[in-house]
Amino acid sequence: MTDLPTKRARVRAEIETWGTILYLDVASESVGESELNVGIEECRKYFYFIDDVFSTYKAESEVSRLRAGKLNLSDSHPDLREVWAACEYAKAVSDGFFDPWCVEGGFDPSGYVKGWAADKAIAILKSHGAQNIQINCAGDLSLAGGFENGKPWNIGIRHPEEKHTIVKVFDIMDGAIATSGTYERGAHIKDPHTGLIALGARSATVYGPDGGLADALATALVVAGRDGAYLFMKPELAEYNCWVIDRHGDQAWSPR
């Protein structure tokens, strides 16, 4: 990258949806703020659309109707079918530790959709000339292009209990980083194999190219704990890595 000063447009925005607030940090040297804002508006509409299709809190969403048996998968929106297939893959590659079908009330892709949709939003923003992109979905991030001038995004990972403490910082140019744990919204992850509350890890962070799969694998590791380390030896997951804080013993580990 050149050392010459360049005019960089940077826009930060918040989008309230999915029961939380998404935070976007978007920059470019080739287009101005107004064009970035156009891209952000397109993302906003896209996120609302995703909520309408995938929310398990909206009775009329396609996922809710699918769960209620009022909608056939074959009649559903192509995005839902895409996510369904992606979840099947994530379940297979995680050897069942991630299982969105093993949820009370039926298929719940929430653990996959956030990262998946954030990746889509990155494509939308790029099409509007954005070069440096962060999309933070309540602690799961999709990133592109680094922060600026060839420097990566420095992403801090919060301590599972001491919320004001950053326990680890990852430097990421492009890709996704997702953290799952039982600390944010109570014990919300169940072990598909036993039906009990997952006990494998207090906090699992996964980073790799695909946001949806990173989300799913982080969830899988909260279930599996150290038993899930071998997953990252699979050739399919060669581009993924994790950093996990054990449930007990106050230790963190990484498979490589």
Binding site: N154, R158, H159, T165, E184, D250
Partner: protein, 182 residues
């Protein structure tokens, strides 16, 4: 500050020595003070804008990739013990400018002791309707925590957290400038 000591000592909740807990920008003893004016005015409770020091990120961000290696816990402990009390930056309470967000105005007030943020709170936060209110009441504690974390870590995003607000960030930067810390 408690947090700084905890991190540098590697004893966070007992996670401690086994973790590579040293955040990259904490790699050197100057990392703590790197984003903080250590030799400036110490006039307490004078929220007059002081001249911001030279870009703090320059000293706070030396080649992030390298610093992933954790220092031995013992070294960190020693470092923390000597540097943390010695930090003698600004002290007092500083109020940031009001930042207008789409949800309403946000204004942050920080309390600084010896150049470190010990507390941060929202003087103004959007509460136009119930929905916003419930989000705000959830968000503020996280933001306070992230603020305190960010005061010694040069990071642009927080994973595993809930919510980071631009309005909060903007007002915080202004408060930090007043404190001569940024």
């Amino acid at each position: 500050m408690k947090r700084a000591l905890l991190i540098a000592g590697g004893t966070i909740g007992g996670l401690g020595a086994v973790l590579s807990i040293t955040p990259p920008h904490f790699g050197s003893s100057t990392g703590i003070a790197g984003g903080i004016k250590t030799s400036g005015s110490t006039t307490p409770t004078t929220p007059t804008a002081t001249t911001p020091t030279a870009a703090p990120t320059q000293s706070a961000a030396p080649t992030p990739a390298k610093t992933k290696k954790a220092k031995p816990a013992a070294t960190n402990k020693a470092t923390a013990a000597t540097t943390a009390p010695a930090a003698s930056g600004a002290s007092g309470t500083f109020t940031g400018a009001t930042s207008n967000t789409q949800f309403g105005p946000v204004q942050v007030q920080i309390t600084v002791s010896n150049g470190k943020i010990t507390a941060a709170k929202a003087l103004q936060f959007p509460n136009r309707d119930f929905r916003s209110q419930s989000i705000s009441s959830q968000a503020i504690p996280y933001l306070v925590q992230e603020t305190i974390a960010a005061s010694s870590s040069n990071i642009q995003g927080v994973g595993g957290a809930s919510y980071t607000s631009q309005g909060w960030y903007d007002s915080l930067v202004s408060a930090l400038a007043k404190a001569g810390m940024k």
